[in-house]
């Protein structure tokens, strides 16, 4: 028999999550499990904590509550750089419900927004006060215990941050792959580049060989060639109904090139 409990604070909710219980944020994934009679849990834990829905500026970073929806991100002036990633998630009704926190834990091929957060080197702020780089949160998420209260990201300069989702169905469709790039420059050359792929493995992942190949180069065809060669190094794309792993690997460099050097429309 299923029970639902709503706690006032995220800390209390975190304390109530255990083996047979699941935390529900927007519920776009968890309600499917409920509707289809998933036997893996019998307790739903929720919170009415308003802090989870807040977006705030703190120095050079923006804090995004884990309960902020994709629709709210897309409408936020402070988060204009993340709007394309937020708008790429589902249709309008899904975006009115799907949260930032839930996207961190969404299984393949989902996690488009997490891909953008990964390329921005986001920090995950856990409900118990711990802070952890998103990269290790994603790598260890099978085992991660606890609730995310917020994520924080640096604010990139205009045009330094780019996002691209490749889907078969437009305007809405699950990812064949998602790509995000943070391309800071120093003296005209790329520095501290971040390249992340979504739907190219169990979770979103950075491609460090590709990042290293981009650092120190100009963003032009010749400069990016070694990075394109290394585009999928370390990634293990899966076969699914949308595309085979082989296909994903083959087309990834082409989409990365389109992200790095957007084609000029004549």
């Amino acid at each position: 028999m299923l029970s639902v409990e709503t706690f006032e604070t995220i800390e209390e909710a975190a304390g109530a999550v255990g083996e047979r219980s699941r935390f529900m944020a927007g519920g776009t994934l968890l309600m499917v499990a409920v509707n289809y009679g998933n036997q893996g849990f019998d307790r739903i834990v929720r919170t009415s904590d308003r802090r989870l829905g807040e977006i705030s500026n703190a120095g050079d970073r923006v804090h995004i509550g884990a309960g902020v929806t994709m629709a709210k991100v897309a409408a936020s002036r402070d988060l204009a750089f993340l709007a394309p990633a937020a708008r790429s998630v589902g249709g309008p009704a899904i975006r009115n419900r799907a949260t930032v926190g839930g996207n961190l834990f969404a299984p393949h091929p989902y996690g488009d927004f997490a891909t953008a957060l990964l390329a921005l080197d986001a920090t995950v702020h856990w409900a118990d006060g711990r802070e952890e780089p998103i990269e290790t949160v994603l790598q260890n998420r099978g085992q991660s215990i606890g609730l995310a209260a917020a994520v924080s990201v640096p604010r990139p300069q205009a045009d330094e941050f780019r996002f691209l989702k490749v889907a078969r169905v437009k305007p809405k469709g699950a990812s064949v792959m998602a790509l995000a790039a943070w391309l800071p420059k120093s003296a005209g050359r790329l520095e501290n580049t971040r390249i992340a792929f979504g739907a190219m493995g169990a979770t979103a992942a950075r491609v460090k060989a590709c990042e290293a190949a981009l650092n120190g180069t100009n963003l032009d065809e010749r400069g990016i060639e070694p990075a394109l060669q290394a585009a999928t190094e370390g990634l293990s794309p899966q076969d699914d109904a949308l595309a085979s792993g082989w296909y994903r690997r083959e087309v990834a460099p082409i989409h990365l090139k389109r992200l790095l050097i957007p084609e000029r429309r004549l």
């Binding site: 776009t28 509707n35 289809y36 929720r46 309008p92 009704a93 419900r97 305007p171």
Partner: protein
Amino acid sequence: MEKTALNFTLNGAETGVFVDAGANLLDVLRRGVGDQTPKYGCGQGSCGACSVLIDGELHLSCLTLAETVAGKSVETTAGLAGGPELHALQKAFIDGFAAQCGYCTPGMLMAARALLDSNPNPSRDDVAEAISGNICRCTGYEPIIDAILAAASGSGRRFG
């Protein structure tokens, strides 16, 4: 299974119903309250047939934990017409042959209503985006997009 009381406003009318823990809003609307206009297509957020407005915002009732609408306003296609006078969107759908089997229609109408409430003069792309979470297996979408644009421009035929 233990039931809890749930009170909300449905198409402007105060509504009370007892719900099971974990029940989704679609089930409560159809079986608990008897409003059959939101449809069950998939129960997993993929088809949009169950779309409703909650406090004016578009939501999928199959993915909405029923108890989360306590004290809120829920609107369904049953509340679109004002008595015998059909809503402009309903008229435009009839005129434009935008409903064939009609299964997707209530969801399409609610998605369109949410769009026009926030953007009364949408472009064709805006409309395509607004109904992108709603699947139609009959019409090929074009008549639906045309009908929504006709309703927005006020060019739909007037009844009554």
